[in-house]
Symmetry: C2
Subunit: 337 residues, 2 copies
Amino acid sequence: MKIAVDAMGGDFGPKIPIAGAIQASREFNIEVILVGAENIIHKEFDRLNHDRANISIINTAEYIGMGEGLISFRRKKRSSLRVCAQLVKEKQADAFISTGNSAAIVYISKKILGALNGVEKPALALLVPSGKGPTLLLDVGANANCRPRHLEQFAVMGHLFMQGVMGLKEPRIALMSIGEEKSKGNELTKEVFKMLKASPLNFVGNIEGKDIYSGKADVIVSDGFTGNIALKVSEGVVENFLSQARSEIMKNLFSKIGFFLMKRNLKNLYKRMDYSQYGGALLLGLNGICVVGHGRSNTQAVKNAIGTAKEFVANKVQEKIETEMDGFSQYFERMKA
Amino acid sequence: MKIAVDAMGGDFGPKIPIAGAIQASREFNIEVILVGAENIIHKEFDRLNHDRANISIINTAEYIGMGEGLISFRRKKRSSLRVCAQLVKEKQADAFISTGNSAAIVYISKKILGALNGVEKPALALLVPSGKGPTLLLDVGANANCRPRHLEQFAVMGHLFMQGVMGLKEPRIALMSIGEEKSKGNELTKEVFKMLKASPLNFVGNIEGKDIYSGKADVIVSDGFTGNIALKVSEGVVENFLSQARSEIMKNLFSKIGFFLMKRNLKNLYKRMDYSQYGGALLLGLNGICVVGHGRSNTQAVKNAIGTAKEFVANKVQEKIETEMDGFSQYFERMKA
């Protein structure tokens, strides 16, 4: 199996994806293709121990910075991101991952790989842990502006993913909103509520922000603006909580001893809450596997994002979704008619 | 000082606001007017110790249930909520609080009290703790659908509140979005970004979900849908974290002893994260003080919401905002022209 990694993306520069790629290749026993500026990659290789890592390099002169926009996405024909997508398109890689500019990843992946039949907008889908197994949140940031039918398509993609990949028979689909009653929500969600109610999906209604980690639904659908804010707020609360906990613990000797005794358990807890354990979001709805890591990824998070891509390839996620989607694309056709 | 309390609102029935009113009257040394079904209130009085509580009762035959809609808001001319708002309008109460149907509170308050000059939509504004002092989030749920100019008005109200009430010279105003760059956001926030940039406010740009508790801004503006989700997600994460922490702690003897030693510090921490300590949100932009408590409020939360209302009255929040608003209503007039 070959996974292409965009070596140039991420808030902290190429060091992180390069180190993550080395670790992932070793730990998951896969070939990694690092795509980026060869001289930078070689410099990191000189610095890092890369014994037993199965890595090849594809040199690209260009890359897309975190602040760049549409013009760069289009013009830079040899950006590391575009080359990654092309490798998947040409079946020289089974999947690619990037922790770079997420708007660029979404635009270029769709352009190069194309979307599945019936899907207008691929969505960023993230599996988050709940007390009762994982829940798929989508869209967590690919599409800031959505029409009702886009959210319906997200619901279908989420359904197919949880059914085909996670083996759930009738995944429970919920709509993120500001109250459980169907009268609650904004113009967008009220319209989507009606559409999902009328669909063949197992729609369980609106779900409030407080319940997204409760396990009350298997798939939670939202526009990419709302979904991104929900996710980032979660991160912020956890970080805030941990930093306040740290200062509370340091206040006196008893709590320091207490912390020492609880250390291992608190670490378990931290691991479950830490975004770098999540392993990246799948850009769902493309003709190919693209995993998007957090811009703030550390080495561990990059490694886990590559691990996620590997799992998706090994589990034939793409094939399963494509097969199932055929049935639904007929459904979409009927809806349009 | 007299605070009117809607005795009939809240997810758990009249018991909670009645008990909260008794505690608040005693603790804050204020008169509370309980508005609701007299027989229910008397029954609770028989059950509860209400010595030294300074409470009067206004009997109302009707109330608005948590699931009711616009038709009830309009038709029920003697609902407990409407009577509360009328008491404030007629200066028989200095403020009112309700933990009831929030759509009803917003609709009826605006109808009875009217909005300040220049304000089209009053917004639910909540002070949340950050590492560096309180931050005002608005709108956290009054208006699910907003136009750009509404968010501009929220920004002005937030500015006036933090200046007039919290004494900040140049409150830092931020816009909740999905990236710090001005190019990031949805159609609504991109438009609002331009308006705030051109306004006389101290606009510090977009703020991401992860930073809403970081203290990077004094006021964070969003539409009521997004703001409500951000707030509810925070609640959910804290609850989820605490329940997972509990099960981790119970796993072995060491961590149990550790917990025992840390108990007091963890309680401090919990207090800071617990919504019932927040004390309710101000419905900002009305001709009068209305504090909205969480529907899931317990007695403590109701008491704190009444305490918040008392603070607002004592600090002449209404007078301060009205005076300052005059300058800004001219600004709004110019904007419209």
